[in-house]
């Protein structure tokens, strides 16, 4: 079942009555989440991603706009009638109940035609427990489980009543780095196996990129870009998205376009046909640099970090907007580095131009 958000808006009234300033947490949000996909809502803290999730769940009421589950308008439907499973950031497992009782809890609430027999409930509980691999822990209390296990129990509880939509709020934020890697694969696997349309919220771009079918990038309540992770990475719509995605982060230079050529400092680094003369922000992905003794872009070398397969060149330039520039090149090319300066040529498809004022993407008429 797909989920459609139409002009969804959430305004929080101001806390300070005198100033009367409202907070627009989510501003005129419209997009469609295709059926059976894993969607990452991504953005820095305070961008309205959790608010969006809670509006989909129904725990928060939108100030405007509509939410559709399939063809059904659920904007006014109470959370319990939406058929959703929600995993809270800190899991919200009932501390006084065992894992089994926690998973059974939503099943015992089912009434009418959905009412299950005791045996069926137990069977279902073990079924979802097996899916998230916690069937060995059924008689433990949440306090006796590790963070990762609690996370699985929370997912099992959310899945037990076979929701139409699974929502996860920062599902990995309480886990340590190693567990995070493992659990995100786990979430991916569970989502694939169940085929439930799943939306999760994260501020970690790597997390979102690695497991999502689609990512939705937000900033200050405004939708920035939506698309497949690789597409968004390769074709950012604005400076914010370009900066937010990618590790190591993108390098930003001050640049100027003159006569169809892009200048960084005094050297023309790239042809940009069809772009009017103007000042621009130039974003270059770390992997967009090519070591080239005769290359147009020269930087002061400060450090070379060897990371096995790759080499990371840390350097600086007057024209850079950040104190350091980081370029990633193949380890085999390392021999070419010598002296205090390093010269690069650029891969055109890894270089993005953004307007100096509006920070929107400027596209040359043909990309080589």
């Amino acid at each position: 079942m797909h989920i459609e958000l139409r002009n969804l808006t959430k305004i929080f009234p101001s806390r300070n009555k005198k100033s009367g300033e409202e907070v627009i947490a989510v501003n005129d949000f419209s997009f469609t989440i295709p059926d059976g996909q894993l969607i990452g809502l991504l953005g820095p803290s305070g961008c309205g991603k959790s608010t969006t999730l809670y509006m989909i769940s129904g725990l928060q009421k939108p100030s405007g706009g509509q939410i559709f589950f399939g063809d059904e308008d659920v904007t006014e439907v109470a959370p319990e009638d939406r058929g959703i499973g929600l995993v809270f950031q800190n899991y919200a497992l009932y501390p006084h109940l065992t894992v089994k009782q926690n998973i059974l809890f939503p099943l015992q609430n089912l009434r009418g035609k959905d009412k299950m027999t005791k045996e069926a409930m137990i069977e279902r509980a073990y079924q979802v427990a097996k899916l998230v691999q916690i069937d060995e822990l059924m008689d433990r209390k949440p306090s006796e489980l590790s963070g990762g296990q609690q996370q699985r129990v929370a997912i099992a509880r959310a899945l037990a009543k076979m929701p139409r939509v699974l929502l996860l709020d920062e599902p990995l934020s309480n886990l340590d780095a190693r567990l995070r890697l493992q659990t995100r694969e786990e979430i991916r696997r569970i989502q694939k196996e169940t085929g439930i349309t799943t939306v999760f919220v994260t501020h970690d771009q790597e997390e979102a990129m690695s497991i999502s079918d689609m990512i939705v990038v937000m900033k200050l309540g405004v939708l920035q870009q939506i698309g497949k992770p690789q597409e968004v990475y390769n074709d950012p719509a604005n400076l914010f998205v370009a900066k937010f995605l990618g590790t190591p982060p993108i390098n930003i230079f001050k640049g100027t376009v003159r006569g169809g050529k892009l200048f960084i400092g005094e050297s023309a680094v790239l042809d940009v046909p069809g772009v009017a003369d103007q000042d621009v922000h130039v974003g270059i992905r770390p992997e967009g640099f090519v070591l080239d003794a005769n290359g147009p872009l020269t930087c002061q070398l400060s450090n070379v970090e060897v990371m096995g397969r790759d080499v990371s060149i840390v350097c600086s330039s007057e024209a850079s907007e950040n104190p350091i520039i980081r370029a990633i090149i193949d380890a085999d090319d390392r021999l070419a580095i010598s002296g205090n300066t390093v010269a690069f040529s650029l891969k055109p498809h890894k270089v993005f131009l953004f307007g100096a004022q509006d920070e929107k993407r400027i596209r040359p008429s043909e990309v080589k």
Binding site: S57, L59, P79, E80, D81, I84, G85, L86, F88, N90, A92, Y94, P95, H96, F105, P106, Q108, N109, L110, K141, S143, R157, K161
Partner: protein
Amino acid sequence: MVDSKHQWKAWLYLAPALVLLLVFTVWPIINTVRLAFLEGYSGMKAAGGATFTFGLENFEKVITYKKFTLTLKNTLLLCVLTVPISTFLALLIAVALNSIKPLQKTLQTIFFLPYVTNSIAIGMVFAAMFNVVGSALGTPNENLTSVGIVNNILQIFTGKDHYVSWINSNSPEWANMFVMTVYIVWNALPFKILVLLGGLQAINKQYYDAAKIDSTPRWRVFTRITVPLLSPMLAYVIITGFIGGFKEYTSIVGVFGDKMGPPDAPGRLNTMVGFIYDSLAQNREGLASAAAIILFGIILVVTFINLWVSKKRVHY
């Protein structure tokens, strides 16, 4: 750890508190135990140079006194009646208070008022509310026109001439007990509400969101989530409630005066603490000490039972 060279300083700083505790708490406790075992001890006689032998006579006397068994019965009855009722009501009120937004602070203050009001004063108000004005002291032919507000309300339903003598002469014992139960429950509510409300507000709201998503019926949310998560607080108010209940005294003085009963049956509602005071008033300190130790023993046992039960019932 304090450096041994400066330990005397630590003792010096502690001295004011320690001296007061020793003089007014530790020594009286020791002395109470001592007096309890001095047969027939009386301060007056001791001052006159009499000596007393060690023995259990005080305890024997206390338990064989009819008066004492009456106070024991009254005390137990009041505890058993008031602690469950007040705990249950406090829980309902706390949950209700917690679930409303407007006027919450105002209502909280109103519910807290009994806590900061003198219990003798409350008792007098209760006495007035349950009074039958005119009948108790009036002539047989007096036309009864004015009664307390409780009887006034009852008369709306039962007719003009009908009234219950709650605390006056000829009042039945159940009516006396009823008045005391209402009074003690009302007086015990604020503290319990305060503790339970604090407990409720400490419960993570996400449990309720999670329950809502799972379409949990209200009653089930209350019994399966709120009560278990509140169980440590509930155990606390029940245990302190029983301890307070066994020490009940001022409430009865407040309503009935120091006769501890209606005018025609003084002492009918006397409690264990009342018995201790009475013995003291008769210069029978040995007897009073023995009764105090018995009371202490009962509270100790009941508290252990409470703790034992709560270990099984209190979650996490």
